[in-house]
Amino acid sequence: MSSPGNWHRGAFVRAVFLLSVILYGAQLCFGQEGQASAKVVETDQPVGSCDGINLETANYKVRSIRIDDPFLFLPWVKARQKRASAQITALVQGKPFTYADVSDKALKIIEDENFLPDTSDARVKLRLEFVSVQNCTGGQVDVIYRIYSTQILPVLSARPEERVKERQTPQTPAGQSTVLAKESSPFHFVPTGGYDSTDLLFGGGRFEYKPRRIGKLPFQSAFIKGEASPRMHNVSAALEGAYDSDVETPGWLAHANWLINFSHYSLPTGAGDIRGGHVMLHFAGVTKPLAGGNLNLRFGAALDGGNRQTEAGNLILAPNTVPNAGFGTLKLYGGLDSRFARNIFSASYGLELGSVGPAARVDWRKHIFDARHQFWYSLGNHHLLDLESRFTMGKLQVPGKVPLPERFFGGNNEEFLIASDDWQIRANPVIRAIPGSRFFQTAEGAGGRSFFSYNFTAAYGIWRQTLVPEELTSDDEFNDQLQGSITSVTSTLEVFYYSKDPHYANVVAELPAAQTALQDLQTVVTTVQGTHAGQVEDLFEACTDAIKAVSRRIRNAISSSRVPYGSIAEVLSEDPDDDQLLNVRQACETDLNGALKDASLTPATSQVETLRTQLTAEFNKIDTKKAEKKARDDMAFTRRTLNTLFNDVNIYSISPVFVFDMARIGPRNGAFGGTRYGPGAGLRFELATTAHFTFGYAWNVNQGPGEGRGNIFFAIGVRDLFH
């Protein structure tokens, strides 16, 4: 029989072997031809440069074509790229270069393939397409088509959970993994794994089925996730539903989600396991950005019921603590998130009210505060310095009794207050230097009554490959146009906020009167034309055309259920090229009646002019500055996220990591309870196409009984195998 020491060595060897396999796989990946991030080498002498050459008149032929998309590793993108490549190759390769074929027709083929289908959630879409040429040598040229498309969650991108995904799986925040495309599977499976010396080597994953809807139920996805080793397990299964508000949709709620979840866990403490199983109903919402676009609020509630158990071992029960019990809890929580150019800050507070057995009383109260800060800065080109801090504290008050597993058990194992992946409120003291859940012994027995923990991780990307080629990220035109996409959406929002101004409503209310006045004018003009038959026919035609044009705009504005701001602005414009009411005055009163001097026309033209003056005065009172600010605030997170995705995100990076943890549980007496410190170091490897992992060792500087001198921590997540 192997000793625990041998087992640990074996696990360590397996972990190193796994690491080697991944690194080898990564090398193969980097070697693949056609990656969007392939570097373009700029030579000192531009031999073969295509600058300033009209390739069509210079009789060049197309040597080769290539379509680049940063997300080619996704099967649905790859399938489209292959189809488009085949068609474009047949169209242009080996043939004389023509701009019509190489630029226009080929790009049409790419657009028809639609490299940016809608997603199952509401996002702001951006798409940039480039056709480039290079290697103009020997009468031949290589053509590259580059597609940069992304779709961003307008509010949820401010969450720290999302920033982690930006690093590990940029395809997810870029909206490429939830597209509604037939090549995109509704099934997702993300294997995960890890090691620590108490949990031992564990594996698992997250399997999700995400059709657009599950029958007639208010759920869009079903998932099972978990991890297990010979010593521990933590699994849950859930049905989840969500609502997303479009950025242009009125209202304060940006996102809501709800789930029914069943969880079961067993975590080793080194002196016996703590276990639990429960069913949870959870609802949470997120507001649209507040405070000048700098923060949004989250809120939620959960009802939870099940049992908590303790495996017989050497665990000493604290007062008012029961080892096994059925329980019920009500959890209420709230928080705020904020995202700036290079920082994300989040703070959450949760209150848990629990009872032993099915009773309407409070046997214990748990207060949890969890704050996270993430900072990233590019030192050099895309060499990111990432600093992550997390501070968590909790307090347990027990007026009745509490099941032992509800007390605070710390260590490398993380426990969360709620089951949602979208909002992770950590609920125990985490210290990577202590394996499993071994940090629990206090002056009054097993499990803390209070705790705090602080975790700091610093990583610096030494080796990396950028998601978007560096020649583009440093190109002003590319960056301007990227910003332009967000600017355009912001402008649409701005128009929407114009429509919320009371003066705008007054204008809209007067549109039927303006339409009637124009109809009356047309009637009078027709009558007058009969009286002056054969006279100034061109002026009559001009007057009638002006009335028709404006009437059509007003009719569209009145009949439309959307915001008709553009039509109204056109009608009230002072630009003679527009279909505006001023043209009616010019054509019908100044020109036509100026020639006819017919008194019967004047009252009708005056009525139109009076209404025009009133409408214009009201229209000009719309507070456009306020609307502009509101729209800008709404889009602040989206713009900041876009900048990160295009300017800071790497397709792979390898970073040395420094960690420092500090955790305390109480009450303390001597070596029981108190504060532990855990400095450590390791390596972080993030490859969007394959996997991400962190591997390291942290020392438990002032260890307590049974905690160990330190811990090897290793966690791996593999890319979605169905995508």
């Binding site: 373009v40 440069s49 701009y99 951006l126 009125p250 020649e471 332009g484 402008s491 649409t492 039509s567």
Partner: protein, 123 residues
Amino acid sequence: MATATKSTVIKIKVNFQLNTPNGLRRVIFGLEKDTQGDVVSWAINFQLFERAKKSDPFGDPIVSLDVDVDKALNSKAEKASKGLTAPQAAFALGPAADDAKAAESGEIDQDDAQKTVQKTLKK
């Protein structure tokens, strides 16, 4: 050994997606910049999508117009490629979309609709 030269961009297309607040109308305002040697030209690819209910997919565009931008408006096209202003977005979703639809139904000429779409740049 042949070395790759820096690439030369001969076409850039930026697509601005504009949605109405009721979610029933969408305009894709595509701006294309073509460079042939030293000659630069601009074009607009205007697509209008409509749907009866917000829960329906938009499907294919009900109107798609390609407009060659007047050379005199090149500088305005260049500016618009860095983002449409609020009046431009309102015009694209309102009069430009209305006229594109009217041209499709034969109410106005295709040329007039193209002129209206191009007028977006002047807003």
